[in-house]
């Protein structure tokens, strides 16, 4: 866990904190994009090239733009009247802490199971492709079906609106 980990962690946390506390929604969306970039840097630091670049391509290139479009096409660009923190902040904090504890326990338990200081396996894109099409083809096809359903649903929702406005 060298210096790079702490640097990238600082960037990601800064982006996430800014996304939580900034008043202007578009600023918050751009800050969450920085957090996405930080996650991509984590992947690249761990030599997972495919995951890192796919993270940038999908999260920054599609999800961030989607968030921004959604903010602009609804009335989200108005500043919130009574600050960013909601009144139920304590319950939110408790739930977030609980989830963090569960995830942390899961990660640490699995890390104890693996012996430390082994060389990370060099996974090439070729291996990922073979695995996706071989061992994990069923989850791949299910995700594809899900995406197709989402696309068709979006088209139908948009189509319906067009008929209503005519």
């Amino acid at each position: 866990m060298g210096i790079m980990f702490y640097l990238i962690a600082a960037i990601t946390l800064a982006g996430a904190l800014a996304a939580m506390t900034l008043k202007h929604l578009v600023h918050a969306a751009l800050a969450v994009t920085v957090a996405f970039g930080g996650l991509a840097l984590f992947f690249l630091d761990l030599d997972a090239q495919f995951a890192g670049f796919a993270q940038i391509l999908i999260y920054i290139g599609a999800v961030a733009i989607l968030i921004v479009f959604a903010i602009l096409l609804t009335r989200g660009s108005e500043l919130p009247k009574d600050g960013v923190f909601s009144r139920t902040w304590f319950a939110g904090l408790a739930i977030a802490a609980g989830i963090f504890a569960v995830l942390g326990w899961a990660v640490l338990a699995s890390a104890k199971a693996l012996p430390s200081e082994t060389a990370t396996p060099a996974v090439t894109v070729h291996d990922i492709g073979v695995a996706l099409m071989g061992r994990y083809v069923l989850p791949l096809e299910i995700v594809a079906l899900l995406l197709t359903a989402a696309t068709i649903g979006a088209v139908i929702v948009a189509l319906h609106e067009k008929e209503r406005t005519r």
């Binding site: 751009l30 090239q49 670049f53 920054i60 290139g61 602009l72 894109v125």
Partner: protein, 391 residues
């Protein structure tokens, strides 16, 4: 001698780096390559601006700029000085931080794209295993910069231009990716160096470039269309439509920031042409086997400049597409054709060598093109206008 001419830049780099201690040598080598890229491509950009203006002029039966320097070749110097000494106006209600960061992030993302292009034999800055994916990730980061530019100007027309630009870029990004996937399927790797190596063979005199295959030609044409749309060039330059939206998302930028947007657009043109030549035109390999004595980097830059010339030619010829025409074209015509092209590529791979696969692929692709073309024209989507007034 031929070897030396081919590797002259690599040898120069090794020689310059040898002056430093061994600890610093890798970093110094990378730094030298970065400096070379940062010097060469903006220089080419300067030349391209003047060649574009003169080329467009001659296409339109007039002379281009010919006052500054011999044949007007110092025009970019004049343009650069003008851009630098202009007052940097930021609108009062603009979001200053985002307004400042937008051109910066655009130029940074575009410069990163050059890191994976193999510009000659052994002349790639970063030989990454997932090089193509890196290129496309940097390409999508430019979309976010475009949006940032349009939104932060606090100007309805800039925002409109930015939304249109982002919508256009997202649609054509998919086509770009899918046409590249056909090449990746055949070459078997996402690494651009390996893709060029796969095309660097000659069957007799003719090269094994992917453009000389039926699926490759179709994919190249669709890649070219998508590349023109990605870089917002005519006929897809509605976002910066000078007659409609003033200057679209970079309306409120003046002086050096505008020059940065301009630089970003032209550099994106260079890098996407570079990727196109790497994927389809064989990168740095010579067109005929008896021409391999000419250095590889000359071939690469020659092909890139020919692509730029075709961009300029298209700009001078075609009228601008309307936003809905552009989107319809992408989603209803080019995207299905891209998917069909993927099927044909797979067929090509699994049919094995021989004349049969040529015939089958050509028949499927040409037949589909003619069919879809007739279908579209039957529904009067692409036919010439028969009515006199708009409906």
């Amino acid at each position: 001698m031929v070897e030396k001419a081919d590797q002259v830049f690599v040898l120069l780099q090794h020689w310059l780096v040898s002056f430093l201690p061994a600890v610093l040598q890798p970093a110094a080598a990378v730094l030298l390559s970065v400096i070379a890229i940062v010097c060469v491509f903006p220089g080419l950009f300067a030349l391209t601006t003047v060649f574009e203006r003169k080329g467009l002029g001659r296409i339109q039966n007039r002379l281009g700029p010919n006052r500054v320097g011999p044949l007007g070749l110092f025009q970019p110097v004049a343009d650069g000085i003008k851009a630098l000494i202009k007052e940097d106006i930021v609108p009062l209600s603009a979001n200053t931080l985002v307004h400042f960061l937008a051109p910066l992030s655009l130029v940074v993302a575009v410069f990163m794209e050059f890191a994976v292009l193999p510009m000659g034999r052994n002349m790639v800055l970063a030989d990454m295993d997932a090089g193509l994916l890196f290129f496309f990730s940097m390409s999508v980061s430019t979309e976010l910069s475009v949006f940032m530019a349009g939104w932060s100007s606090h100007n309805k027309y800039s925002l409109l231009g930015a939304m249109r630009a982002v919508a256009q870029m997202i649609s054509y990004e998919i086509i770009l990716l899918l046409s590249s996937v056909a090449v990746v399927m055949t070459a078997g790797s996402l690494s651009l160096v390996k893709i060029v190596d796969a095309q660097n063979h000659y069957s007799g005199v003719l090269p094994n470039w992917y453009i000389f295959t039926p699926w490759g030609l179709a994919a190249f044409v669709m890649y070219a269309i998508a590349a023109t749309a990605e870089t917002n060039r005519s006929p897809f330059d509605l976002p910066e439509g000078e007659s409609e939206l003033v200057a679209g998302y970079h309306t409120e930028y003046s002086g050096f920031k505008f020059a940065l947007f301009f630089l970003g657009e032209y550099l994106a043109m260079f890098s996407i042409s570079g990727l196109g030549t790497t994927l389809f035109l064989g990168g740095w390999s010579a067109p005929f086997s008896f021409l391999t004595w000419i250095p590889s980097w000359i071939w690469f830059f020659g092909k890139v400049m020919i692509s730029i010339f075709v961009f300029i030619w298209m700009r001078g010829t075609l009228p601008r597409l309307r936003q809905d025409q552009l989107m319809n074209f992408a989603w209803k015509f080019v995207l299905p054709f891209t998917l069909l092209d993927l099927l044909v590529t797979a067929l090509w791979r699994f049919m094995g060598e021989g004349w049969l696969r040529w015939v089958v692929s050509t028949v499927i692709l040409a037949g589909a093109y003619v069919l879809m073309g007739r279908l579209a024209m039957y529904k009067e989507h692409f036919a010439p206008r028969k009515y006199r007034y708009a409906e």
